[in-house]
């Protein structure tokens, strides 16, 4: 959700940058991250977010050329994963009380979705 003045809600910018770093296989420079985000953010904004994330120890960095390359700290995510697994373990299924973006589906539905997806792809091409 964007705020009234068009800026993104708190957390969304960092989420975007963290998403790029986690999806990437290798450490990335600020310019790499900015490019991956599709030029949505200014270079300086990306740089500022990366520095803030580094201060919070969410990402690590090392010197590379004139700048830095960044990658996510894995310890925190591993710890979060085991706590998340523990939080959702047990009976009854605790996942059932949560809202899910990725909704499970059966084989027939998967087929339908692939068809729908193919339709969207075609429509997106002008």
């Amino acid at each position: 959700m964007t705020t009234k003045d068009g800026r993104r809600a708190p957390g969304t910018l960092e989420a975007g940058v963290m998403g790029v770093l986690w999806a990437a296989a290798t450490p990335m420079s600020a310019a790499d991250v900015q490019r991956e985000l599709g030029g949505e953010l200014a270079y300086n904004t990306v740089q500022t977010i990366l520095i803030r994330l580094h201060e919070k120890k969410t990402v690590e960095r090392r010197r590379a050329g004139r700048g830095h390359v960044y990658w996510p700290v894995e310890d925190a995510a591993t710890a979060a994963a085991s706590r998340m697994r523990a939080a959702l373990a047990g009976l009854p299924d605790r996942r059932a009380v949560l809202q899910h973006f990725a909704q499970a589906l059966d084989d027939a539905d998967a087929e339908l979705l692939r068809d729908l997806l193919a339709g969207t792809e075609q429509r997106r091409q002008p």
Binding site: A23, V97, A108
Partner: protein, 296 residues
């Protein structure tokens, strides 16, 4: 006491039958609200009916049943004893289900909240399962997003923007409250379970529409929802919405259509149900008070 006391037990049915049709068209937000409010009132009324029916067992209490020996003082016996007993049992079962549901929700949210540091708005868990959860906050701390590396790697940068916008919409609009209220209603009155499922679906649709408006691209939003759902293919669905494919298919289909326009007329049924409910319950309560006067 006449049929008025039994009516609220069945009046949930029109709501149950029309819920899906209400959800199929128009803006998801207004439908989610209307169905939740109607379900909560329906559950409150049917519970009140059960309470009244169970209370008629009081005429078997020693001081009242002693009066039975006076043939001149014939006590009205409006509800057969077994029915009152069944009502009492249903009441207990509903209460137990409600308690279980509330505790499960609170415990799950509490455990998920404990994963993040206070003030953190975005937490990554290194898990291959593609999952994203909007963890609601409390009065003292805002909610946060909890996503797995599985879903971050599955989606591209644009699709991740859809995901974050969708989850933020859940948090900003406090969708968990609507879902919890509908679940509480369904716990008290199991006839309302389809309404609970519909509200859960509508909340997803609502967040999808918010995300589509935020990123300004419905096709991109549809693609992100479809790709996330396809990644879970093979696992059994948590909720089945029935006709015309599961919830994921319907969400994608709705996003490939133009943005919905508000259609207030479809909300007539839930509103009508609420009005009838309140009228019937008033009649039943009046009858019960008259009965209690006759007893005492």
């Amino acid at each position: 006491m006449t049929f008025a006391v039994y009516l609220p037990l069945l009046l949930a049915l029109p709501l149950t039958v029309t819920a899906r049709r209400i959800a199929a068209r128009g803006t998801p937000g207004s439908a989610a609200w209307a169905l939740t409010v109607a379900a909560v009132i329906a559950a409150a009324c049917s519970t009140w009916s059960l309470i009244l029916l169970a209370l008629t067992m009081l005429d078997d209490l020693p001081p009242l049943s002693a009066l039975d020996d006076h043939p001149t003082l014939e006590l009205p016996e409006p509800v057969p004893g077994p029915i009152a007993l069944v009502a009492g049992l249903l009441l207990l079962a509903g209460g137990a289900r409600l308690l279980t549901d509330v505790r499960l929700r609170l415990a799950t949210y509490r455990d998920l909240r404990a994963i993040s540091e206070p003030g953190e708005r975005f937490v990554v868990a290194d898990l291959a399962t593609p999952m994203a959860v909007a963890v609601p906050g409390t009065a003292r701390r805002p909610g946060h997003l909890l996503v797995t590396t599985g879903i971050l790697r599955l989606l591209d940068a644009d699709e991740r923007r859809v995901l974050f916008a969708h989850e933020r919409a859940h948090l900003d609009r406090h969708h968990h409250r609507l879902v919890a209220a509908a679940a509480a209603a369904a716990a008290l009155n199991p006839l309302l379970i389809p309404v609970r499922e519909t509200v859960a679906y509508l909340v997803e649709r609502w967040a999808d529409e918010d995300a589509a408006a935020d990123v300004g691209d419905r096709a991109l939003t549809a693609k992100a929802v479809a790709r996330a759902a396809l990644a879970t293919a093979g696992t059994p669905p948590l909720t089945a919405l029935g006709i015309g494919g599961g919830a994921a298919v319907q969400r994608v289909r709705a996003l490939t259509a133009p943005a919905p326009a508000p259609r207030r007329r479809r909300l007539v049924v839930p509103m009508l149900v609420v009005v009838v409910f309140l009228a019937v319950v008033t009649v039943a309560t009046g009858e019960f008070i008259a009965l209690a006067r006759a007893w005492l």
